[in-house]
């Protein structure tokens, strides 16, 4: 079975600085994979390389077996990669509705946009209530929901999430993760999830990679990692 996403020997960074020194990673079709590790390990850099915001120095990135290397970020989005970046990426100056419409840029036709927006309201009803509000005035949790909706509205096949729980109240985090679980279950969308909260991540993910200094230090099924005391102590905060 071709993995939905495969990174082979990915070397990437910013300008002359190399952050990733050769990453091998796989997300199974319809699977949820967690990407863990300390700050500066290269997790965000990995996601940015996949979505095309940065160009790799070496290695390959394959989506359903096809290389993404020569493509621009907007082309990669058109291929079905949805990226919710760190900092959420919502456009504060635009309204909630306009943010969703921007997310739906690739959709063909008014009807497609409307039906997808309705689906977003099913998952995140608060967005319908705040439809005309400026996105910058939403609470952190609401902005995170909007950010996810923006990425999901165009029907991506692969969802990249960068620390969706960051700065959000635990109750809202639970809501968001329940929705993510459902999205993955019902639509079979593959998910690559960065999370500081390792327990939360291992709960939803089938397997996890732990990055350390730009390399994969550990990879295994979530259940195994959770039960491995050594791994827990070294990488997951005990």
């Amino acid at each position: 079975m071709t993995p939905q996403l495969e990174l082979r020997g990915l070397v990437a960074g910013y300008g002359a600085t190399e952050i990733l020194h050769g990453i091998d990673l796989r997300v199974a079709s319809g699977g949820v994979t967690a990407l863990l590790g300390a700050n500066g390990a290269g997790k965000t850099t990995t996601l940015r390389a996949v979505s095309g915001l940065i160009r790799p120095h070496a290695g390959d990135i394959l989506l359903d077996g096809k290389s993404l290397l020569k493509r621009s970020a907007s082309q990669i989005a058109a291929l079905g990669v949805g990226h919710v970046p760190d900092g959420r990426g919502t456009i504060s100056e635009l309204s909630v509705e306009e943010n969703l419409q921007t997310g739906g840029y690739l959709l063909k036709g008014r009807d497609a946009l409307h039906s997808r927006m309705e689906q977003m309201f099913v998952w995140f009803p608060i967005l319908k209530q705040r439809l005309r509000q400026q996105a910058g005035t939403l609470s952190g949790g609401e902005q995170q929901m909007l950010a996810i909706a923006r990425a999901m509205i165009a029907r991506p096949r692969l969802l990249l999430l960068d620390e969706p729980s960051f700065g959000i109240a635990p109750l809202v985090v639970r809501q968001i993760f329940d929705t993510l679980r459902e999205i993955n279950r019902k639509d079979g969308i593959g998910v690559l999830l960065i999370e500081q909260n390792a327990a939360l991540a291992l709960d939803i993910a089938g397997d996890a990679y732990v990055l350390e200094n730009g390399r994969v230090a550990v990879h295994g099924a979530s259940a195994d990692l959770k039960n491995d005391a050594a791994v827990r102590r070294s990488y997951l905060g005990g």
Partner: protein, 293 residues
């Protein structure tokens, strides 16, 4: 002619020139919003486009055909300049980009002189004698110019507020990264934005040329007024820019007629710029930007 009529004439004239300033101000703000830089060559590009219109008219083409063609050519001109001059400057520090803008200003100015000569030329107005209801306050061309600019501004508004493409352009200006992730081709949006701004400038040029006569320095002063208008309205608000331009037009005329005389009119623009920057940098309708350093 009583005093009140004269006053109305000054205001009416101010609105007419002001809406032209406002159109150029709009072009400046549209580019500013997407690049955070002021295109100092905006006026010269508009002047150059007006010369192109003039040449087509010399060749015998009817006015409105020339009008439409010039708008198209100006659009292409702006798009080409962005694609081949501005885009390669993506990583250049601000000062370098400003120097390039000034270079463009000089290039367009000199090219116009070299290709079309430095003599003042008459530029026809399609509105002469058309509108009888100026009631002695506003001339036909002034009314026509206001109408044309209003229609153009309405079209721009509808484009940005109600079309998918217009929204994509606004998104690309506010947040290029987020827009890329939505599949929006951000570099293309920038190119088209420059094209649109150039086209707006060309319309403004064609509306102002019958009044001030066409010569390579036609737009130098107007760019200053437009810049004052953009600042007065607030650089973060395109419609503030239009309002600012109209206000500058009215203020310029009133002060010029009653207070300081017509020779110091341009000083008014400079003083306005100073006053805005000192007392209220965000302008009348702009937002205060607070930056953590």
């Amino acid at each position: 002619m009583n005093q009140f009529t004269i006053f109305l004439q000054q205001v009416g004239g101010g609105v007419s020139t002001g809406i032209i300033y406002g159109s150029i101000a709009l072009a400046l703000v549209v580019i500013y919003q997407s690049t955070h830089k002021i295109n100092f060559a905006q006026g010269e590009m508009a002047m150059f486009s007006t010369y192109i219109a003039w040449s087509m008219m010399q060749a015998g083409l009817p006015y409105w055909v020339v009008f439409v063609l010039t708008v198209g050519v100006a659009f292409l001109l702006g798009a080409v300049v962005e694609r081949f001059v501005i885009r390669p400057l993506a990583d250049t520090p601000v000062l370098g980009v400003v120097i390039v803008f000034i270079g463009l200003l000089l290039i367009f100015n000199s090219m116009a002189g070299a290709l079309f000569g430095h003599n003042m030329r008459e530029f026809p107005s399609p509105f002469e004698g058309q509108f009888k209801w100026g009631a002695g306050i506003m001339g036909s061309h002034q009314i026509g110019a206001i109408a044309v600019c209003l229609v153009m501004l309405c079209l721009v508004y509808v484009f940005f507020a109600f079309t998918r493409f217009g929204l994509a352009m606004r998104a690309a200006a506010f947040s290029p990264q987020s827009s890329l992730l939505c599949g929006i081709p951000v570099p293309l949006m920038l190119t088209l934005g420059w094209g649109g701004a150039s086209a707006i400038g060309a319309v403004a040029g064609m509306m102002v040329a019958p009044v001030v006569y066409l010569d390579p320095h036609m737009m130098t002063g107007i760019l200053l007024y437009a810049f004052a208008g953009a600042l007065l309205g607030g650089l973060s608000n395109p419609w503030g820019a239009v309002l600012g331009g109209v206000l500058v037009g009215i203020i310029e005329n009133i002060l010029g007629a009653y207070v300081i005389g017509t020779e110091l009119k341009m000083t008014v623009a400079l003083m306005l710029i100073l006053a805005v920057l000192v007392f209220r940098p965000q302008g009348l309708l702009g937002r205060r930007l607070v930056v953590r350093v």
